[in-house]
């Protein structure tokens, strides 16, 4: 079986091996791409949450500052 049609079979076997190798590589690339997309999405959602918290904090601090400090007079 190993010696049947050596050149062609060998070539085909080699081709299959190559293709499997390439397939592994391309699937890895797809996994990397998927990972990057999901990482990007989760990162953006966390940053958005962080942004909201920061905004709320800033407003509260502004309010507290207005309450505590003497304030400017209109003149």
């Amino acid at each position: 079986m190993a010696g049947q049609d050596d050149p062609v079979q060998r070539e085909i076997h080699q081709d299959w091996a190559n293709r499997e190798y390439i397939e592994v590589i391309t699937s890895s690339i797809k996994k990397i791409a998927d990972f990057l997309n999901s990482f990007d999405m989760s990162c953006r959602s966390r940053l958005a949450t962080l942004n909201e918290k920061l905004t709320a904090l800033e407003r509260r601090i502004e309010y507290i500052e207005a309450r505590v400090t003497k304030g400017e007079t209109l003149t």
């Binding site: 080699q14 190559n18 590589i25 690339i29 990057l36 207005a66 400090t69 400017e72």
Partner: protein, 553 residues
């Protein structure tokens, strides 16, 4: 269909054409595929770097905000610990004088504009075909628009929306003004005494642009009416309508406007008094300040009204006076000019009438110098006034209290003259008026101004001079001094102004509106929207404050 943000470049690994002269095609395909895999990896790494860069930029901005927040918290903690046991002074001044707290509401704007396009999408966009270069035809256009705008204009819808918003704000503002004019609060001041629902329509027009061109027009018509004499009664009703429609809301906001529709009001009241009132109105319009009403006896109740309402005092006073007598417009008109002294008016009315009545005697001396000066203002008005003026003294004496309100008004020119003379005769006059607090003296100038027209009522001028010297010199002097020269100039240019007035007004209105719109607003969506919403939902108080500002000016 979702828009792909980042596209890994070699889409298909082995969809290439193989060269012919190759023996081992499978190996060739394998090699080509591997090469494309490497290219795919390179584009993947490039997009990954871009992706992480975006995330990093966002996180970096957050870090700045967090740091600033940290500093503020530290400062606040320190100040709070210091604050606790210390003084809690709350002076009344502090409560009123401190600036109100305004939170900084920063809104995100222009989120999906060309500038905020992410880089990968910008690259994808750059791959697209460019539109035809129609902009090279722009120099040859007459209307100044860009050639490409007719083919494709990315800002078309935004411009459309912005114009619509600005137009809506203007419409809402006008509606608010109309509503304000029809407000029951204005009703008290205006309509109760005027009792003319028809005037609302006239007053609904916009004030700003129609003030100046209308003044000379009205004056000339007034003089013509005076000259006509017997036809006054009929013409008044017509003119009242015309004036109302012409001056529109100016009646409320401009003293010159008020007399117009007051004239209409006065028409039905009396023939003889009309010319004088109109004349007074005319005289007062240029200076638009003080009216002198020695003869007019407005009933005391109107004074109360006037005293109550400051900014609307102009209208209310006019309304109150018109209700009472022919010369009420002048009175109210003059009274309106005294917006600063409105609160005092209720008090002064009782004392001033008495002294004013007593002052009639000594007035004889001041009147001679005064008449020459007012003559400049009222050359045509003098003949008719004497007739009503003769009536006025008779009316005045029995009703001294009403005199006080009209006294507030005096023509600016006369005021100036009176002020000039004020110091000298004022002293003697002041002796006659023992306790004139500043507000009461104000009426006297008004009386004095009327005196030039009728040589008859003499007493007031002396009082006026004294009164005016004291309180009015500082307040009215500035404005009224300028009125003397313009009065004669306005007369000479009256006809031209009448002819051009209407056209000028329209063109100026349009130009002002367009220029104002385009200057004020850029691409700021937030300001446009906020302005519109403010106009729509703001309380009438805001508008009244704005309008009151106009009046005070």
């Amino acid at each position: 269909m979702p828009l792909v943000k980042r596209n890994i470049e070699p889409r298909h690994l082995c969809h290439t054409v193989l060269p012919r002269a190759i023996k081992n095609e499978l190996e060739c395909v394998t090699n080509v595929s591997l090469a494309n895999v490497i290219r795919q990896l390179s584009s993947l790494s490039k997009y990954a770097e871009d992706l992480f860069g975006e995330l990093f930029n966002e996180a970096h901005s957050f870090s700045f905000r967090v740091n600033s927040l940290q500093e503020r918290v530290d400062r606040l903690s320190i100040s709070v610990t210091q604050l606790d046991p210390k003084e809690e002074e709350l002076s009344l001044q502090d409560i009123t004088m401190r600036k109100a707290f305004r939170s900084s509401t920063i809104q995100d704007q222009q989120l999906f504009a060309r500038q905020s396009l992410p880089i990968p999408l910008q690259e994808t966009f750059d791959l697209c075909e460019q539109p035809p270069p129609l902009n090279i035809l722009t120099p040859y256009r007459d209307d100044g628009k860009e050639g490409l705008k007719f083919y494709t204009n990315p800002s078309y819808f935004f411009d459309l929306w912005r114009e619509k918003m600005l137009q809506d704000t203007e419409d809402k503002r006008k509606e608010k003004r109309k509503q304000k004019l029809q407000d029951p609060r204005m009703y008290d001041q205006v309509y109760r005494y005027l009792d003319l629902p028809g005037q609302v329509r006239g007053n609904e027009r916009t004030l700003e642009t129609e003030k100046i061109p209308r003044a000379p027009h009205d004056r000339k018509k007034e003089w013509q009416k005076l000259a006509l004499g017997a036809e006054l009664a009929e013409d008044d009703s017509e003119e009242a309508l015309k004036h109302r429609e012409a001056n529109g809301s100016a009646a409320y906001h401009d003293r010159s406007g008020a007399p117009n529709y007051l004239d209409g009001m006065d028409g039905p009241f009396s023939l003889a008094a009309l010319p004088y009132s109109q004349m007074n109105e005319l005289l007062n319009r240029p200076g638009d300040r003080m009216y002198t009403r020695p003869h007019d006896p407005p009933p005391p109740p109107p004074m109360h009204h006037l005293g109550d309402i400051n900014p609307p005092s102009m209208i209310s006073s006019s309304s109150g006076f018109s209700d009472s007598r022919p010369q009420s417009p002048a009175q109210t008109h003059g009274f309106n000019s005294n917006t600063p002294p409105p609160p005092p008016p209720p008090l002064p009315p009782p004392p001033p009438p008495l002294p004013s009545m007593s002052g009639f005697g000594p007035r004889g001396t001041p009147p001679p110098p005064i008449p020459p000066l007012p003559v400049q203002q009222q050359p045509p008005a003098i003949p008719p006034p004497p007739a009503p003026l003769q009536i006025a003294p008779g009316v005045l004496h029995p009703a001294p209290p009403p005199v006080a309100p009209p006294l507030h008004v005096s023509s600016p020119a006369r005021l100036q003259q009176v002020l000039d003379r004020g110091p000298t005769p004022g002293q003697s006059d002041e002796t006659v008026l023992p306790p004139p607090p500043p507000p009461p003296p104000l009426p006297f100038p008004g009386v004095r101004s009327s005196s030039p027209c009728p040589p008859g009522p003499p007493a007031v001028p002396s009082f006026l001079s004294g009164a005016m010297a004291s309180p009015l010199s500082h307040s009215g002097g500035k404005k009224h001094s300028a009125s003397l020269p313009p009065i004669s100039d306005a007369r000479s240019v009256l006809l031209e102004a009448i002819r051009k007035g209407i056209q000028l007004r329209k063109v100026e209105e349009q130009r002002e509106q367009e220029a104002a719109k385009h200057e004020r607003v850029g691409n700021d969506v937030a300001t446009i929207l906020s302005r519109r919403i403010a106009v729509e939902y703001s309380d009438s108080e805001d508008e009244s404050e704005f309008d009151e500002g106009d009046w005070m000016e």
